[in-house]
Subunit: 324 residues, 2 copies
């Protein structure tokens, strides 16, 4: 082994872990989350009296905004106060809202002003006739809705050798901090169901749900729900208070008795929570994020002996932290 | 719309859900699991006095058999009795064994006869010089170690239009009921980290772990661990008793105090558990499984409005049930 290759080997051995890359990032690479885009759910304290706060970031425009608006309306009306987490299904979801919502005469009345959003809003599609776009046309269209895709595309397909093969979408990419999928048919783009994703429970089609019944993913990404249910946000803090709840016995995950439910004390928009920390996420357009994503796909930090050479987009977890 | 297309539409609307396909499968499509290939872990009862049993199926030959043998030795010696689940990290793993194993003078002595297994055993590779196989050569090699691959390959690549793109492996397939990956480089094949997978915790390379410290995946599939850690089995019953445990505060998921740990009453090989039900899994070579996998990738049952057209292999959950 030559001296130069020894240096190269040492450089590889000293490669930072993804978390180390994030920890040493410049503050300019972080994007502040507006408290207006946060929903704060305080569950009843646990058996030891410990507080359980779940903080949810809402999905940005132009995705799912009809349902996101409904969630804002419901939180502003404090509609969820006194409701519960009534469904916890292993490797699937924790779901909350009005446990009696389906029982005539017992359902809690919804606030005024909720929109009924059509199914076509599960995805983003431009006006005009549907078409089957080429890969190049899809890229060109995605570039019109955001600026991240081009950089992510370069990262995944060329320079840094991340294999981003995805069985559920023709393309996956990040948009303003969020994982998305896209299809040449349409073309369309849509938010993904990853761990921690918050979506809108619904009844059979054509119902699309109001947003009053929400769930958070607490298992392996159920990507088959993409384009079938509205995604409205993601849990950025406190997911463990949902994921560690006792599982229901029933196959649909709904608790058998009211006593098994976890009471919700309050759900508020972030601006209504005086003690809320400020949050920020790592810009998915930053060079730090690209370095982080590449290192996540090709782990060369000391514990690893075989870098994967690829990563699925739900494992490229967008870093979120409390601002200092 | 013509009459014939109306019939077709009705047929599509009546398509069974994956679970319905499994429920109506012929009994000949199920494979009995030998109690000798099961490890039964009884945790201390929960706060309400309810039993918590976790049943683990061991990985079959020719994968990870050095570590699997060690797990048999440890369970036969009842080495885990009195140890604990001492690490629970959200969206990652629950880990058990000797919480003091790293503390000199406090570690519980291991039984005689444990093998030290080399890193090369993380994957299966035939003897002879490494080569870079073509897709066809990889297929031919995989066909020599099992009979399922050809059928799965046909399912994914041709007849039934399942897109099985995988960012972590050149090929994914099922082998005697287990999800595997394969690479043209080598060529090699290896077991996957999916939800519920049980693996062998280890220290830094070249340590590969004995099998005394085990973990179960309780979050999104950490596929970056494939080929870096030994997989020895999967939880087939009771995963909820691990996945619903309180998360540790520390970033590495290890509980701060002994009181937070969950005691392990006993860990036994299935043959030593008189009241153990018989288990069986759906043969991944059966036509029922292929129908189930196709329906999982292309959900046409009533709830769904947009079939994905693809699925990642960790979401093709191999059905396991108690035999009647």
């Amino acid at each position: 082994m030559s001296f130069l290759s020894l240096i190269a080997a040492a450089a590889v051995a000293a490669a930072p872990a993804p978390g180390e890359i994030v920890a040493t990032s410049p503050s300019a690479d972080w994007v502040a989350v507006s408290p207006d885009d946060l929903v704060v759910m305080d569950l009843a304290p646990d058996a030891a009296g410990k507080a359980r706060r779940v903080v949810i970031q809402l999905l940005p425009d132009p995705f799912s905004q009809g349902w996101v608006g409904n969630v804002r309306t419901l939180a502003t009306a404090r509609w969820w106060d006194g409701t519960s987490v009534y469904r916890v299904q292993d490797n699937w979801v924790a779901q909350w809202g009005d446990a009696d919502g389906e029982i005539a005469g017992k359902a809690k009345p919804l606030p005024q002003g909720l929109l009924s959003v059509p199914e076509k809003a599960y995805v983003l599609r431009t006006e005009g006739p549907e078409q089957s776009a080429s890969h190049e046309e899809l890229d060109a269209w995605l570039a019109t809705i955001q600026g991240t895709h081009a950089a992510w595309h370069a990262l995944t397909h060329t320079k840094l050798a991340i294999k981003d093969a995805d069985p559920y979408a023709d393309e996956t990419f990040f948009y303003r901090g969020w994982p998305l999928g896209a299809s040449r048919a349409g073309p369309t783009a849509w938010p993904l169901h990853c761990y921690g994703t918050v979506g809108v429970a619904r009844n059979s089609s054509p119902d699309t749900g109001t947003g009053a019944e929400l769930y958070a993913v607490i298992g392996h990404a159920p990507r088959q729900l993409d384009r079938n249910i509205a995604v409205v946000g993601r849990v950025i803090e406190g997911i463990q208070f949902l994921s560690s709840l006792p599982r229901a016995q029933a196959s649909d995950g709904v608790y058998e008795t009211p006593e098994q439910r976890t009471p919700i004390v309050s759900v508020r928009i972030g601006t209504a929570v005086p003690d809320l920390p400020r949050y920020e996420f790592l810009s998915t357009e930053s060079s730090t994020f690209h370095h982080y994503a590449e290192a996540s796909a090709n782990r060369r930090d000391p514990f690893f002996i075989k870098p994967a050479g690829g990563i699925d987009i739900c494992n490229v977890k967008v870093p979120v932290r409390q601002a200092k």
